[in-house]
């Protein structure tokens, strides 16, 4: 699946997007965040406070308990500040 990062999540991870293949035990968005956190310092910094991180699956907002099976694109970003 493709992961995309925006704003300071992108800056901290150091990537705008990447393709990942998480192990089968990674079932939800929260699991994915926990798995990503272990991938390196940048990830750990980006996801240090998982409560503030927002996620979208295939361009729709989802909660941390959303299942990721079948997802094409998962995005992580800070609370939005548009308008």
């Amino acid at each position: 699946m493709k992961l995309r990062y925006f704003a300071w999540v992108r800056e901290r991870v150091g990537l705008a997007e990447e393709d990942v293949d998480p192990p089968s035990g990674v079932a939800t968005v929260a699991d994915l965040v926990a798995w990503l956190t272990k991938r390196g310092e940048g990830y750990a910094y980006a996801f240090e406070n998982p409560k503030v991180i927002r996620a979208a699956i295939d361009k729709s907002h989802v909660r941390a308990d959303a299942r990721i099976a079948g997802a094409g694109e998962i995005a992580f970003f800070p609370p939005m500040t548009g308008g």
């Binding site: 995309r4 925006f6 704003a7 300071w8 979208a56 361009k59 729709s60 907002h61 995005a75 970003f77 800070p78 609370p79 939005m80 500040t81 548009g82 308008g83």
Partner: protein, 164 residues
């Protein structure tokens, strides 16, 4: 319904956009427009510019979903939402919302609803550029405001009550 949702780097013309909602028809009795403008200060500090990042594809889809919801809640005849991205200088427009209806209540309410949701649900992120004059431009991300969440939340509260 006459709907326009557009994201663009360029400036927009509010008067021209509004005219598209009313031109050649006589059923529109109320038109509300809101324009969000870049201020020269953020939290009391002078800024040189804002830079807006967005999630292409999702931003348009999210705004369109809320325009659909607004038209389901209120008898709208038209709605236009235009949001800019990229670097925006103080005094320049950032976003516009225009809503048209037969009567003012629906137009006012729908415009406010759309702006409240744009602030909290549309994937845009503002970055502040501080005035410096050095080669290294200092940029900081704008924090989300709890007051914006409260403003958006009030549109869902009555519905939950109604569902009981």
């Amino acid at each position: 319904m006459n709907t326009t949702v557009r994201l663009q780097r360029e400036v927009f013309d509010v008067a021209a956009e509004v005219k598209k909602l009313t031109h050649g028809r006589s059923d529109v009795g109320a038109l509300v427009t809101f324009t969000g403008i870049c201020r020269a200060d953020e939290n009391g500090e002078k800024i040189a510019a804002l830079t807006l990042e967005h999630y292409p594809g999702m931003a348009e889809a999210e705004i369109a979903r809320h325009v659909d919801e607004a038209s389901a809640r209120w008898p709208l005849l038209g709605a236009t939402v235009i949001h800019r991205f990229g670097r925006i200088a103080p005094g320049e427009d950032i976003v516009m919302v225009a809503t048209a209806s037969s009567h003012r209540e629906a137009a006012f309410a729908a415009a406010e609803f759309l702006m409240d949701y744009l602030k909290t649900r549309a994937p845009f992120w503002k970055q502040v550029e501080k005035p410096g004059g050095t080669n290294l431009v200092e940029k900081t991300w704008v924090d989300a405001k709890a007051t914006d969440d409260v403003a958006a939340e009030r549109w869902t509260a009555p519905r939950r009550e109604a569902a009981k």
